[in-house]
């Protein structure tokens, strides 16, 4: 682990976050903290015909957690609720371009995905699978 994890895409989204803010009347809405480092993240999603029509994230934290959230929001636009519930960590990590983050920082990268899954399962009224944050 070193500065190698700070790929251009991560730094780009860290400096210029996309879709930052919140949405009122969002169908899907969730937030969580990473207690180890104090990262805080919320995601709001508007749906139209079961498809993501608008998405915002808000929060504060390290470059990895915040850029990962920004990148995730771009990836989710136009996806169906079913696709949200099936979205995998590998898809996100591949986009981040940092497959080997190490155990300490991978939680930062996956915080946004965890919040997405919490919100999506809550919307579906389903139980969150226990391995959902892995």
């Amino acid at each position: 682990m070193s500065e190698d994890i700070y790929k251009e895409i991560i730094l780009d989204h860290y400096r210029n976050p996309r879709n930052k803010g919140s949405l009122s009347n969002a169908e899907i809405s969730a937030q969580d903290n990473n207690p180890v480092c104090g990262d805080r993240l919320s995601i709001d999603i508007k749906l139209e015909d079961n498809v993501v029509s608008d998405i915002k994230f808000d929060g504060e934290g390290c470059a990895i957690s915040q850029s990962s959230a920004s990148i995730l929001t771009e990836m989710l636009m136009g996806k169906t609720v079913d696709e949200l519930s099936k979205f995998t960590k590998d898809e996100l990590l591949e986009e981040l371009g940092t497959p080997s983050l190490g155990p300490a920082r991978i939680k930062c990268a996956l915080l946004s995905l965890k919040v997405l899954k919490m919100g999506t399962y809550q919307y579906l009224g389903a139980e969150l699978p226990s391995d959902s944050d892995n």
Partner: protein, 409 residues
């Protein structure tokens, strides 16, 4: 004069002969745990290679040697903090276990519904959570000595806190985040005037400065071996002997008994009454060696060395833009710890980029979340010093911090 002692000191610590990420290793996280000198490692290896056996019961030669080494370590550690007797030294796993021991024995026996426990806002979770649990169990109140933004305790309301059924005070000697040295001798003396029993969390003081438990007059006093060059898994509870004698045991089993029948048992003398089961023999021996090593340098010399490093660092870092040290105005700092924020860079990003330069610092809440809240930050980056650090480590940290800025902006 002190610089001569510290010049070649890294050679005593084998970890510094390794390169990490292809660079010389700069270790600035000694408040979390310390590196181990050859003397300590060799003493642990010696035990396992030459006299590995159980203590206090073997009749054969190596068991006698192991018992001697274990008990010599106890008296060595007792002298190091100027305990009245080595029988006041109880070996535990660490400071945390020692706090839990007191919570589960003395405090459970002597505190009752409506009594209050006094803590401070700067406690490590290890000296907070055990008291929260006990308070819930026994319906006790928790009251807190507040801190000022510069990291010093607000002591002028002490008389109010010490009224109102206050029976027990547990506080840290030195803050693990800010390095503040609390005036615990005065606080303890005032507590005693009100009949309050005291516990001192000395995990961050005993490794870094001369400490005299008789002078402080603490009732209970706890610290961890791994923060003072010793092995992990060994810690110490010091307590006044009369207290120990009147306390129920913490854990029950072998070695802590004097006589056992099928339906009942009598307890061994102190301190062994509190050391049920086979203890961490190698750990105790290693900690005894660590104390020898620290004594060779001298605790006052170590304290001065850390303060020199602290002053050098503050001077160096004043050149950095948007660099803020927490508790900088504090005149009562050990000098062993610098907690800082740097622009709006997150501590985890700072620590990760420094790791790429082979510099180890701590990033996070340092097991002191209430204090972080008080400082108004979710986390800080912390650099902490010890005997093996020198100004070149601080220079490398300075360069590393410049790299942080260039990567993130």
């Amino acid at each position: 004069m002190s610089s001569d002692i510290f010049q070649d000191i890294k050679n005593d610590f084998p970890i510094f002969s390794n390169q990490i990420n292809g660079k010389d290793f700069v270790y600035l996280d000694s408040a979390a745990t310390t590196q181990k000198p050859n003397d300590v490692i060799d003493s642990v290896v010696h035990y396992y290679k030459n006299c590995n056996s159980n203590i206090h019961r073997g009749i054969y030669s190596i068991s006698i040697e192991a018992t001697e080494l274990y008990e010599d370590a106890r008296s060595n550690i007792g002298k190091f903090i100027n305990a009245k007797s080595s029988h006041e030294i109880v070996f535990t796993r660490n400071a945390t276990e020692a706090v839990n021991l007191v919570a589960n024995t003395w405090a459970s026996q002597n505190l009752k519904e409506g009594d209050s426990i006094i803590l401070t806002e700067m406690e490590h979770h290890s000296n907070l959570v055990p008291w929260q649990i006990l308070a819930k169990k026994l319906n006790l109140k928790l009251n807190f000595i507040e801190i000022q933004p510069d990291g010093e305790l607000i002591l002028d309301k002490l008389d109010n806190l010490f009224q109102e059924n206050a029976k027990f005070l547990s506080l840290t000697h030195v803050s693990n985040v800010l390095g503040t040295i609390n005036p615990i001798k005065d606080i303890i003396s005032k507590a005693h005037e009100h009949g309050i029993t005291t516990l001192v969390d000395a995990a961050q003081s005993v490794p870094h400065m001369p400490v005299d438990v008789q002078d402080l007059d603490s009732d209970f006093f706890v610290f961890s071996g791994h923060k003072m060059l010793g092995p992990s898994g060994i810690g110490v509870l010091h307590a006044k002997k009369t207290l120990l004698e009147n306390m129920e045991p913490f854990l029950y089993g072998g070695d802590m008994i004097s006589n056992v029948s099928l339906r009942e048992a009598q307890w061994n003398d102190v301190p062994w009454k509190f050391e049920a089961g086979t203890p961490n023999i190698a750990g105790a021996i290693g900690l005894g060696k660590a104390v020898d090593y620290l004594n060779q340098i001298g605790m006052d010399v170590i304290h001065k060395h850390e303060q020199e490093l602290y002053n050098y660092a503050i001077d160096r870092f004043s050149e950095l833009k948007d660099f803020k040290i927490f508790g900088l105005e504090n005149k009562h700092s050990t000098g062993g710890v610098i907690s800082f924020s740097y622009s709006d860079f997150h501590p985890h990003d700072i620590a990760t980029i420094l790791d790429g330069e082979s510099i180890a610092v701590r990033a996070g809440h340092h097991c002191a979340q209430p204090l972080m809240e008080k400082l108004g930050v979710p986390a800080t980056t912390r650099a902490s010093f010890y005997v093996y650090n020198d100004t070149s480590d601080i220079d490398k940290l300075f360069n590393g911090l410049q790299k942080v800025r260039s990567v993130l902006t």
